[in-house]
Amino acid sequence: MNLNINGKDIGVDVEPNMPLLWVLRDELNMTGTKFGCGVSACGACTVLVDGEAMRSCTMPVSMAEGKQITTIEGVSTSSGPSAVQQAWIVHQVPQCGYCQSGMILAAESLLNENSEPTDADIDEKITNICRCGTYVRARAAIHAAAKMRREANELLGSL
């Protein structure tokens, strides 16, 4: 089976129903994506599939074939950390940090769809569990990242 992960084509030899999460973590040793519940309830395993947040703990790897998979390891680009990651650092969001890969990818997905989310939009789309309760800071960081992305886009548009 061929997967495209963070822009790279990778072949794996696994059962088609193995959740993408375990292909990433145990077959490819890409441990940035976390196991939290195994039932799509907590969001720690969130990755982007064709730019959209998906919970990889219940997504059979066969469904990800032929799609662009982005994990936390692929969020930064050669030009540096993403706007969301930068905002996450500025706002000092993580505590234990375990849920944060999933939280960051959920935020990336939200901003891919909505360049100026309201608090209500954030409430609706960010349903990840953080046991340390970093929600207040994550919300502030999402607003800040949205602004950074809009400003970057305006700059690009004006060139």
Binding site: K34, G38, P81, V93, I129, R131, C132, G133
Partner: protein
């Protein structure tokens, strides 16, 4: 003649010897008060360069490796302790690299057991020596800063002076002519500079004849400032290694299958051969703790473990259920108490002297910890050595457990502590280590990572106990508390937990200070008061859960204070305030939080207030809610004020208050573990839900400026959250909720 105090590293060179790796063992700054054995550290994993002492190693490029033997589980210890060292050492935070050292004596947390400020550099008391000798290395009870506040600064200061002397020697000048600045020593006569990295090798042999003076508070550059956490970038880039992320060459993965009944045992597996044929499965093993499947992938191991047909012995616990537990707890309330940790005046006389006794019973359920990272441990057991990788709050306990389980000498046991994906007390327990070692012992020479599924994690926790609290009070017309009588019924946490963690220190239920902690020594003036408790003995394992006794007792006492206020026709804030004239720190926190939370505002919202001291810090919270429907509320805001004495990293303290409040709210809204047929009913987050973004309130935090020794910050934010919310609900509805979680009374939040 007084003994001459010599703070040096070299005398340990002589007495301590050298390890095979060439790393010198010894600790700078210890004098003759401390046993030689307490000085030993291996320096294992501390990277390049020269060790100045047990905490500090400086590489030629001026990178400073700090050995921090406290678990980083989100509470910021990998930043706060380095700040204390860096303040005195005079280095920028950006030059620091943190490692978790082996559990060795210099790193003991004596405060955890003595609750007293230690000073390793002046010499330990007898009990402190014992705790250091064992050693006791743990992260809990919000003790990291209280234990390390002076010691870590002295660690930095002694190292700084040793480096300074090395520079002075090189320049042929006096130490007082040398200035330390941002990782360099400067010759004040000619501005010549040497980096710490250039001096480290000479500095390690310097003898100091005196304990250096610590910087005065007005000289601090780092302590008290919002320092960026050192661990955040790697957590944002997905590079932080948690226990579950450990990957070793040739490693295998195991899934545990626990007995379905608490205290039960899996006695046999009828389809072992069949399961061993499944793809990826290497071996099915039966241990004292349950069955396990070892496979080449966690998912394959987990699926196979579910297919095991097991025979079980329920140890006679198959009839444990929540209704029976509740009936037992109620019965205990009617029986004579086991202990009465607080009694002042004559409560019975005061209660019989009035016809207006306020009497109510409060109730909270068992709670699971549900750390985001499910429990796991990687173990490699060889014939002559063992190594484990485990996110654990007590590395010294880990070493003891592995040595005992394998029969190996402790020096052949290596404990690696990666990041913890949450701890909250759960990761102080040895069970998941014992289980992983038992599994790996059946696959010698191969690293095996044993992972609990969420379901196994939730159903095999060491729970916060269910508890009842029955109050009787008499309040005078003018609002004086004439009598306050509180009787608690619950399982003893320390009795249950310490028997597992440190059996030699197991506490009898009647001596368990955690049971009534937060219910006694209330700051309010009361004419007569009494708090007693009874013990519920059960095979259910209970454990330390963020804020422990205060997690339920603050809900009980601060809700009932509100009831007393309303019975007297007083404003709940004014009522409390009037009883704090002898407790100025409490009073100041209460006044400040009332202001921060707009207490008394006429804005159509409802407010509740709560005040509680735990782990050396006083926290006041005002919860503001809006009604959005029948029994439907929005939790708009929490205002939070903390007096933790001198504060180290205010941004971390704010984060811990935010965290503590959300943790308390999750329990208040949804948290309930129930029992049926000897097992836990809840399996996963859908049945044991958490506050999420849509429910999380805005949180404002204020830290009081108080020049007192630091208190803890990891736990004290949690206790006031539930009563502040319950009191706000009363303000909104006139209904007093006396049982958690609130969802049971039909409340919903959005």
């Amino acid at each position: 003649m007084a003994k001459k105090k010599i703070f040096t590293r070299r005398n340990f060179l002589i007495t301590g010897g050298v390890l095979g790796t060439g790393v010198v063992i010894g600790v700078a700054g210890l004098n003759s008060h401390v046993n030689k054995k307490l000085k030993k550290y291996s320096g294992k994993g501390m990277g390049e360069g020269d060790s100045i002492n047990a905490w500090i190693r400086i590489a030629p490029d001026n990178t400073v490796t700090m050995a921090i033997a406290r678990a980083e589980m989100g509470q910021g210890v990998y930043t706060a302790l380095p700040m204390l060292i860096a303040e005195e050492l005079e280095i920028p935070m950006s030059s620091i690299r943190v490692v978790h050292p082996q559990p060795e004596s210099p790193y003991a947390n004596t405060f955890l057991l003595t609750q007293k400020e230690p000073n390793i550099f002046k010499g330990y008391s007898m009990m402190e020596k014992v705790y250091a000798y064992l050693p006791i290395i743990g992260t809990g009870g919000s003790t990291t800063i209280p234990d390390g506040f002076n010691n870590m600064r002295y660690a930095g200061a002694t190292a700084r002076e040793m480096l300074k002397q090395a520079a002075a020697d090189q320049w042929g000048t006096n130490r007082n002519k040398v200035k330390a600045e941002a990782g360099f020593m400067i010759n004040t006569a000619n501005n010549e500079r040497l980096s710490y990295g250039e001096l480290a090798s000479a500095a390690r042999n310097i003898e100091l004849k005196e304990l250096p003076a610590l910087k005065k508070r007005n000289e601090w550059k780092l302590i008290g400032t919002k320092a960026d956490r050192l661990d955040i970038p790697e957590k944002v880039f997905g590079q932080a290694e948690f226990g579950i992320d450990v990957r070793k060459e040739g490693m295998l993965f195991a899934a545990m299958r626990h007995p379905s009944v608490i205290g039960g045992k899996i006695t046999g597996i009828s389809n072992q051969a069949e399961v061993e044929q499944l793809k990826g499965v290497k071996k099915v093993v039966l241990t004292d703790f349950g069955a396990a499947v070892i496979a080449d992938n966690t998912w394959r191991a987990r699926n196979a473990s579910l297919m095991l047909d097991v025979e079980e012995d329920d140890a006679g616990n198959g009839n444990i259920n929540s209704e029976a537990i509740q009936a037992s707890l109620e019965k205990i309330l009617d029986e004579p108490p086991l202990a009465t940790p607080e009694a002042e005046g004559d409560v019975e006389a005061a209660l019989s002297g009035t016809d207006k006794v306020i009497e109510h019973t409060y109730k909270v359920p068992y709670l699971a910890h549900a750390t985001m990272e499910p429990l796991n441990c990687t173990a490699l057991i060889n014939d002559d050595s063992a190594e484990v990788w485990i996110g654990h709050q007590a590395s010294s306990v880990c070493k003891d457990v592995v040595a005992a389980a394998t029969g190996l000498d402790k020096e052949n046991v290596t404990i690696n502590v990666p990041y913890l994906g949450g701890g909250f007390g759960r990761r102080g327990e040895p069970d998941y280590l014992k289980k992983a070692v038992a599994v790996a012992q059946q696959m010698k020479g191969v690293p095996v990572q044993t992972v609990f599924t969420r379901e196994e994690d939730m159903r095999n926790d060491m729970y916060r106990p269910a508890a009842l609290s029955r109050f009787r009070a008499a309040v005078s017309e003018d609002g004086e508390i004439l009598a306050w009588d509180n009787k608690l019924a619950l399982q003893s946490v320390s009795h249950s937990s310490m028997a597992r963690i440190m059996p030699s220190m197991a506490t009898a239920p009647e001596d368990d200070e955690a049971t009534a902690e937060g219910a006694i020594h209330l700051p309010y003036v009361m004419k007569n008061r009494r708090t007693a408790f009874g013990d519920y003995a059960s095979p259910i394992q209970v454990g330390f859960w963020r804020s422990v006794g205060s997690s339920q007792n603050a809900f009980f006492t601060e809700s009932f204070m509100d009831e007393c206020a309303h019975a007297a026709g007083k404003d709940p804030y004014e009522f409390r305030l009037s009883k704090l004239n002898d407790a100025p720190r409490f009073k100041a926190v209460l006044e400040k939080v009332a202001q921060l939370g707009n207490w008394g505002a006429n804005d159509g919202k409802y407010r509740g207030i709560a005040l509680h001291k735990s782990f050396g810090s006083i926290v006041g919270e005002v919860c503001t809610i809006s009604q959005v429907g029948e029994k439907q509320f929005s939790i708009d805001e929490f205002a939070c004020v903390i007096d933790c004495g001198i504060y180290v990293n205010p941004d971390t303290i704010e984060a811990q208050m935010e965290s503590g409040i959300i943790f308390g709210l999750s329990a208040a809204l949804y948290g309930e573990i129930t029992w049926e047929d000897g097992g836990v009913v809840q399996q996963n987050f859908p049945q044991y839900d958490m506050v999420r973004m849509n429910v999380a309130p805005n949180i404002k935090v204020h830290i009081m400026e108080v020049d007192e020794y630091p208190g803890g910050v990891g736990e004290p934010g949690t206790p006031p959250a539930a009563p502040a919310l319950a009191n706000a609900l009363f303000a909104a509805t006139g209904e007093r909720v006396r049982e958690l979680p609130l969802m049971k009374a039909g409340y919903t939040f959005a």
